[in-house]
Amino acid sequence: MQYRRWMQVLPAATLVLGGSAAVAATVGEVIAARQAQYKELGKAFKTINDQLKSSTPDLAAIKASAQIVTRIGQQQNRQNWFPAKTQAGQGLQTAANAAIWGNADDFKARRADFAKASAGYAAIAGKGDIEAIKTATGGVGKTCKGCHDTYRDRDKS
């Protein structure tokens, strides 16, 4: 894995380039890891919304994706995916807005909102009532948007 390889070359890199290069590599890894999670989340939501639009929705696909939403919803609250110095600018490929660290308390509350909204989502999907899933999906989606409008720079991944 990418991360392991970095850990192997890290001591040498530290010697040659000094501490700052080692920190930059770690920051890149943090960003790549959280982006992979959010992308999985986007993929899961697309699957669910595609099925909800269909006249013959695939319930198994919805359930599997809903489990991903619930899992990531809890993880992003329990873990800190946004440590210091992983914001946009500084040449980093991230849309994470500096307001994340500027309004740290509000950002934390938003993460908790998403965790709360998504906690029972997999269970609702598991019951297979399409109308209930639609309502629940809208509720979870709202917490995504609520945060993204403020804390994600537009048109960047």
């Binding site: 986007g42 993929k43 899961a44 697309k46």
Partner: protein, 227 residues
């Protein structure tokens, strides 16, 4: 809406140039372009509706470009490179005789606008936002990654359209100020004062246009519902 073959002369040397269908479609496209722009980051449901309406208009305009009035037909105004160069050299001069209908350079603009608008509508059908929450009606036919690439092209297409629209507006201003040729008014009234030409123009019927528009709207609706 008098779209039928009235080639007549209301005042001296004023002739009918654009039929009702061309004018209505033109202004609705302008309106929907603004509406799509406004809604793209506010209300995706209305953005989709605007897109469906835009797709209907663009498809109708393409149909009308083959089956409609003389000045609406591609065969009437799309010219080869030699005519374009000749027009760029001689036709843009102040005092040169205005061309009846689209001029050879305007024709390129018409084709680019229609082509880009069509591409834009089609890419919108397959696009998904970054969160997988909002998507075009046919996005379920493609993967998340493909759908995201399409969405990025949708953004590039919009930037290209913005440039084209700016060029279009600049050209209208250029004609108004430099050539003292008001292109805006005929696109509203349909009539233009011409010293020669325009007598032989034929116009499609309003019924023909309305029927075609309804059929195309039904096809578009079937497509977006099929997703």
């Amino acid at each position: 809406m008098a779209v039928t073959g009235d080639d007549g002369v209301a005042a001296a040397s004023t002739v009918k140039l654009w039929d009702g269908a061309v004018r209505i479609v033109h202004w609705l496209i302008a309106l929907l372009f603004a509406a799509s722009w406004y809604t793209h980051d506010r209300d995706l449901q209305w953005h989709r509706y605007a897109g469906y309406a835009m797709l209907t208009l663009v498809l109708f305009r393409i149909y009308w470009g083959f089956a409609g009035s003389t000045t609406a037909r591609f065969s009437h105004f799309v010219k080869g490179p030699r005519s374009v160069i000749r027009y760029a050299r001689d036709g843009l001069r102040r005092g040169s005789e205005p061309i009846v209908g689209h001029n050879p350079i305007g024709a390129i603009s018409v084709l680019l606008l229609i082509g880009l608008l069509l591409t834009q509508c089609l890419s919108g059908l397959f696009a998904t936002d970054i969160d997988g929450l909002e998507s075009g009606p046919l996005s379920s036919l493609v993967s998340f990654d493909t759908s995201r690439s399409v969405a990025e092209w949708h953004g590039v297409g919009f930037a290209a359209l913005q440039v084209l629209v700016a060029v279009h507006l600049a050209a209208v201003l250029f004609y108004l100020i430099f050539r003292r040729d008001n292109l805006l008014l005929p696109m509203v009234t349909g009539r233009k004062s011409l010293t020669g030409g325009g007598r032989s123009l034929r116009f499609g019927s309003g019924w023909h246009a309305a029927t075609a528009a309804i059929v195309i709207a039904a096809i578009v609706w079937a497509i977006v519902r099929g997703g």
